[in-house]
């Protein structure tokens, strides 16, 4: 099959059985790749009501039709599973070189089920696929494990691994790859840990066939030329996502002290400029990316190296825990990476605990004698280690802030910054209704990647609660996750302004299947509705209440900074949902209507 690896690799860890199936043509036609494959297979194959940590849950590691091709940013890999953090759909994206390598090994999807009897890693060298003993790596950090596996197998193997947090079952443990790239969100690493699967190592040496070779080469050349000519290229290459930090503070969107504020008084210490001039040593890209956002840093104060911190980490570990030294943030980033913790959820969990401590909801008796306060890197790192080990306070915090608030009670639910059980990423949104709606309706929980609409709030008016805001969120929720189906990065479009017109023709030239941009968007909408159906199927009573924003956003105004005094009313949040559901063709409870499902070819589900 042109443009695809051509197979699904099925691995049963319980029985040790491994087999390859040809990739079904209609799966490629209707679900495109990567995120689309994961969502479809999860819905069809994982039995309803499966325990996320049980052997019947599956982990899907999938490439898209653009992965490994000469396309700007063609290095994204999707990891889908039933989330131990939320109990619903989890689809996490990781960059680096993994999806490209899978394709060169002739694989589009690795579908992993069961539970290995002992620590195991999956070894793939083209057609040679084995389950190998990983006892020697169990307990080791993600960076340490990746290095050790590369030394044992060879530099040309690409590694995805979990750290101690995945082993201990932290509900937001990530899967790490390429010394600093993570499939961060939703606890995909905990599912791997529950399966006793420490790592996946893959090497492929085959060529990916392309339908229209000369057309493809021409389109690829044009795409790279456009990226290289983009006015935004230089700044993006220099700062990557860290360039957002200053702007986020200027607009009052920088999460600070558990989202009490959208402005951090010491933000200039954390800016992209500060970072570049003090710690960055190398620009680091995903496969095929001309505009690397990866900034690899040496943190002198601690003698460690880390990829990052990228914006989300600076926001949630920096501002949200009030760390005001970029080297401290970078060090805590390194600690998270080695432990295998998602920095976004972990930063939220730490800030939430500190606020609980400030209010007297928890005390030294709960923290193992630790005095919790904002702005203290030792406190942050001590909590991160407790979380990864699931010891002390970490036993509770490691299951996420929704669980921690339910455990601690006493009003802490109001400032547990989560939607659907997933902690909120780096945009304080009380004065940005479409960004808040993005968080409310994102299909994994409070994450920004499906719709980053805050710029729309700024151009359109930050107070406006109008139907066009819902329309914008829906538009973005189709375009952005489409990149996750293609197995490519969206940032060349978002940050360099690469014209979206580049994509459909090159998809067509590669796969040989006629596709317009609208065809691709329809697939993306199909996947969006499918993940919504999954939530309804898996979570008892699921509906509108699961799309509610964290109470802090409507109960308390922003404390300081440019958005001080602002909040959204509960009524406005509900009005946004009404507009959104109506435009999506969903009913009042947020369930896709039969007519919508029929239109998308999902009626049978």
């Amino acid at each position: 099959m042109y443009g695809y690896g051509g197979s699904i690799l099925r691995v049963n860890l319980t029985s040790g059985e491994i087999r390859r199936e040809p990739l079904p043509q209609d799966l490629a036609r209707d679900y495109l790749g990567a995120r689309g494959f994961g969502a479809y297979l999860l819905y069809r194959e994982v039995p309803p009501g499966a325990a996320p940590r049980g052997p019947e849950n599956r982990l899907y590691i999938s490439a898209g039709p653009l992965s490994g091709l000469l396309v700007a940013g063609a290095g994204k890999c999707d990891i889908t599973t039933k989330s131990p953090l939320t109990g619903g759909y989890a689809g996490a994206s990781v960059g680096g070189l993994l999806s490209a390598e899978l394709k060169y090994a002739g694989i589009d999807v690795i579908a992993i089920e069961g539970r290995a009897p002992r620590p195991t890693y999956l070894y793939i060298d083209d057609d040679r696929v084995e389950l190998r003993d990983a006892t020697a790596y169990w307990g080791k950090g993600s960076l340490t494990t990746e290095k050790a596996l590369k030394e044992a197998l060879g530099e040309s193997f690409q590694i995805a691994t979990i750290g101690p947090a995945g082993e201990s079952g932290v509900a937001y443990a990530c899967i790490s790859h390429d010394f600093g790239r993570q499939a961060g969100r939703g606890g995909v690493g905990a599912v791997m840990g529950a399966k006793n699967l420490k790592a996946v190592a893959v090497r492929g040496t085959r060529s990916i066939p392309v339908a229209q070779l000369e057309r493809y080469r021409e389109l690829a050349r044009a795409m790279y030329a456009a990226c290289k000519a983009a006015p935004g290229l230089e700044a993006w290459q220099k700062y990557g996502t860290a360039g957002v930090t200053t702007w986020a503070n200027e607009i009052g969107a920088f999460p600070t002290r558990n989202f009490r504020s959208g402005f951090f008084e010491d933000h200039s210490n954390l800016s992209g400029e500060t970072m570049r001039s003090t710690i960055v040593v190398t620009d680091k890209a995903c496969f095929g990316c001309p505009s690397p956002c990866g900034k690899y840093s040496f943190v002198r104060k601690y003698g460690v190296r880390v990829e990052g911190p990228e914006y989300e980490t600076t926001a949630l570990i920096g501002g949200n825990c009030a760390l005001s030294d970029i080297e401290d943030v970078a060090y805590a980033n390194h600690v998270c990476d080695e432990l295998g913790l998602d920095t976004i959820s972990a930063g939220n969990a730490v800030a939430f605990a500190i606020e609980c401590y400030e209010h007297g909801i928890i005390s030294k008796a709960d923290t193992g004698g630790l005095e919790l306060r904002f702005g203290d890197v030792d406190v942050v790192c001590a909590l991160l280690r407790q979380i990864a080990a699931r010891e002390g306070l970490g036993a509770v915090l490691g299951l996420g802030v929704r669980h921690a608030a339910a455990t601690f009670g006493r009003g802490s639910e109001a400032f547990a910054m989560q939607v659907k059980g997933m902690e909120m990423s780096g945009y304080e949104s009380r004065h940005a209704p479409s960004m808040l709606l993005s968080y409310m309706t994102c299909d994994v929980g409070a994450h920004h990647n499906r719709s980053w609409a805050i710029t729309y709030d700024i151009t359109r008016g930050r107070d406006a609660v109008t139907p066009d805001k819902a329309a914008k969120v829906i538009e973005l929720q189709h375009i952005r996750p489409l990149f996750d189906c293609l197995g490519a990065c969206r940032l060349q479009w978002v940050e360099l302004g690469l014209d979206l017109g580049h994509y459909a023709p090159i998809v067509e030239a590669i796969t040989g299947l006629p596709r317009t941009w609208d065809d691709l968007l329809t697939i993306s909408e199909r996947v969006w509705n499918l993940t919504r159906l999954y939530w309804f199927r898996e979570v008892p009573g699921f509906g509108r209440a699961w799309d509610a924003p964290p109470p802090r956003t409507y109960l308390e105004p922003v404390e300081t900074g440019p958005t001080a005094g602002k909040r959204i009313s509960r009524e406005d949040a509900e009005r946004l949902l009404d507009m959104y559901y109506e435009q999506r063709g969903w009913d009042h409870d947020g369930r896709p209507t039969p007519a919508k499902l029929a239109q998308l070819g999902l009626a049978a589900l």
Partner: protein, 127 residues
């Protein structure tokens, strides 16, 4: 003319390798490219780019005289004359003559410059 690489600027994306395999063989396959991207991670965290300097050591070493120069003065391996002895691979001081299970003859950079156009970091140039 030969390819020159400014390793310190490289971000490890491997677009150059794909452009190379597309030029040499019309295939998408970084393992069939004639330049090497060597990551040194986690320490010190740098990429090393190894490219052909057109020094000619391979041509001197080849026992059958299969390595010739094209119209830009770049060396290439005439697969018809190559016996697959891999003497050139050993002789190359830059380790940039490559082999692949699909092919009997090794392959090397012919200084086409296709990699330069896709490198976003301006690492590569023809000199």
């Amino acid at each position: 003319m030969h390819l020159h690489a400014e390793s310190a600027r490289c971000s490890g994306c491997r677009a150059c390798q794909l452009a190379c395999s597309l030029h040499l063989f019309g295939e998408n396959n970084p393992k069939k490219s004639a330049l090497a991207i060597v990551p040194h991670f986690p320490d010190p965290g740098t990429f090393e780019v190894r490219v052909c300097t057109q020094c000619g050591a391979c041509a001197d070493a080849c026992p059958t005289g299969a390595i010739l120069q094209n119209e830009h003065g770049a060396y290439y391996i005439n697969a018809g004359e190559c016996t697959g002895c891999l003497t050139c691979v050993e002789a190359c001081p830059e380790q940039v003559i490559f082999t692949h299970a699909d092919r009997e003859a090794p392959f090397m950079c012919d200084a086409c410059g296709d990699c330069i156009a896709v490198c976003g970091m301006d690492v590569l140039s023809l000199r």
